[in-house]
């Protein structure tokens, strides 16, 4: 399929879905609305809500808050995950001691931590950042840990034979290997940073996309709930695109995955 035809069909899916939605929400079938607007709103209402948000500029403040929380959660979680993952991988004894606790923490559904964080850190951005961090940290941690553990022994021996000290091995062998694994988890990590931020906002905040959705739901404004969801998806897609760009730039040395058609 050429790029254009692909784009055409992708657009068609949206057009058909939205048309069906609009149709069943406005035209009664056998005297009944299949999608009562009270519960399902209509695409036109949702679009006008989104337009209103952007036209008045209300949305920017919320977007910026959510973006900021996600970025902070991502950066703090990643840095922590890289450092601890690296440390554990290089110190198997430390890893062995902490192993059950790491597993325990990771098994815990992170949403239950949200009230605790709200209690400790207040209703501002930091309780959301903390929630995002707990999600991002473990993904990055496990990947980096694995990455350092699985450095090829031949490459390591080669480094040693070329005269590398332990510090140089860390810099030239362990570190790049760990980073490449971290980047392979980047998409998931970014996604989870956003999840942490939005869920945190939803559970108690004064600003952000999660707050917007929660407010709309509180007054049964289904149109605004859908509008918030659309803005959120677009937001995540944009961030993900940014991640792809960064990844392409930093992982040029990796063979491109073989595409199968």
């Amino acid at each position: 399929m050429s790029r254009l035809t692909l784009l055409f069909w992708q657009l068609m899916v949206a057009v058909v879905a939205l048309s069906l939605w609009q149709f069943f929400a406005t035209v009664p079938v056998f005297g009944r609305m299949l999608l009562p607007p009270f519960f399902f709103s209509t695409p036109v209402d949702v679009a006008s809500q989104i337009y209103k948000w952007f036209a008045t500029g209300v949305i920017w403040k919320h977007l910026m808050i959510t973006l900021w929380e996600s970025v902070l959660a991502f950066v703090i979680g990643s840095v922590g995950g890289v450092l601890v993952g690296f440390w554990f991988a290089r110190q198997p004894r430390v890893a062995a001691v902490f192993d059950p606790y790491v597993k325990m923490m990771n098994a815990l559904p992170r949403v239950v931590l949200a009230p605790i964080f709200a209690l400790w850190l207040g209703l501002g951005i930091w309780s959301k950042v903390a929630l995002g961090v707990t999600l991002v940290f473990f993904i990055v941690f496990f990947n980096v840990y694995q990455g350092v553990k699985e450095v090829s022994t031949t490459v390591l021996d080669n480094g040693r034979m070329l005269g590398m000290s332990e510090r140089q091995l860390t810099r030239h062998v362990y570190w790049p290997s760990a980073l490449s694994w971290m980047f392979s988890s980047l998409h998931t990590a970014v996604g989870f940073a956003v999840v942490g931020a939005v869920v945190g906002e939803y559970l108690g905040s004064a600003a952000g996309l999660g707050y917007l959705i929660q407010q709309a739901e509180g007054v049964f404004d289904v149109g605004a709930v859908f509008a918030g969801m659309f803005v959120l998806s677009a937001f995540v897609i944009l961030i993900d695109f940014g991640v792809t760009l960064v990844e392409r730039r930093l992982l040029v040395w990796r063979p491109a995955p073989v595409a199968r058609d």
């Binding site: 070329l162 005269g163 040395w253």
Partner: protein, 274 residues
């Protein structure tokens, strides 16, 4: 060649043993006695799994012998062998570095300024015929090209001893010949002591000054040592046509053949047992 040559590598009754998972001890190499003179090219040939690579790792200092001694230029070896460059059988290039960075790293870690290291690396890439490939990453190079980069990576440090573990093993026949000739050319320009492990007897005779035969493992021993008196410079593909080559090949093969059969029988037994 008239002066007394110092011994570059000397293994004195070196025994290498590994502890297996079930606490039994597996003796890979037993009482190996081997010496490589300065500037000499020695090839080790043996059946698969006989511990040829183990012997090389001992000479490199990556493995410690359970008994016996390793001396490098008449000094006992402690830790890694700093005089040696090691060309591995498997891909050992740093995949996250470009070809030129892979070659330059050997100088950079010694503290050479980057500009100078890159310049020398470019020179070495040119000598191995990859002058225009410096900015490629290893995955963009063919197997033969990666071996060339590996060779440059090792040689840029100017090691006095070159250890090579079936370096051309994974390559196709033509590329092997080209690489063999390249190796001989570089070695002739600057004679280093070479310890070259291979399972290919023809390759060993074509390249080396001496061919050493190992018995099948476990407890592999060195069971033969032949001088290769073929004149140099040699061309790998042409030297194989010579009468002297055939005679030597037949003579060594008569010894090696039994070991190869033994090694084969043992590995199939081991496969049945497991």
């Amino acid at each position: 060649m008239d002066t007394v040559q110092p011994t570059a590598v000397a293994l004195d009754e070196a025994t290498v043993a590994f502890r297996l998972a079930d606490a039994r001890v597996y003796t890979a190499v037993e009482k190996a006695r081997l010496s490589v003179a300065h500037g000499e090219f020695v090839a080790i040939v043996g059946p698969t799994g006989c511990g040829k690579s183990t012997l090389l790792n001992v000479a490199a200092g990556l493995l410690k012998p359970a008994a016996g001694a390793v001396r490098i230029f008449d000094q006992p070896l402690t830790g890694l062998n700093r005089d040696a460059g090691y060309l591995f059988q498997a891909d050992a290039l740093f995949p996250w570095k470009t070809a030129i960075d892979n070659v330059a790293i050997g100088l950079e870690i010694k503290g050479a300024p980057r500009a100078m290291a890159l310049e020398r690396a470019q020179g070495w890439l040119t000598s191995v015929g990859l002058g225009a490939f410096g900015n490629r990453y290893p995955h963009m190079l063919s197997g033969g090209q990666r071996k060339r980069v590996g060779l440059a990576q090792v040689l840029i440090r100017d090691p006095k001893i070159l250890l090579m573990d079936e370096p051309f093993g994974p390559l196709d026949a033509q590329t092997r010949q080209i690489m063999g000739n390249l190796l001989l050319e570089l070695w002739t320009a600057d004679r280093k002591a070479v310890l070259f492990v291979t399972h290919d007897l023809e390759e060993a005779i074509a390249l080396a000054d001496r061919v050493v035969i190992m018995s099948a493992g476990p407890g592999a021993r060195i069971i033969g040592d032949w001088k290769v008196a073929l004149p140099r410079p040699r061309d790998i593909s042409e030297v194989r046509m010579e009468k002297q080559f055939h005679e030597l090949h037949r003579e060594i093969w008569s010894v090696l053949k039994d070991e190869v059969m033994k090694g084969y029988a043992q590995s199939s037994q081991a496969a049945e047992a497991s």
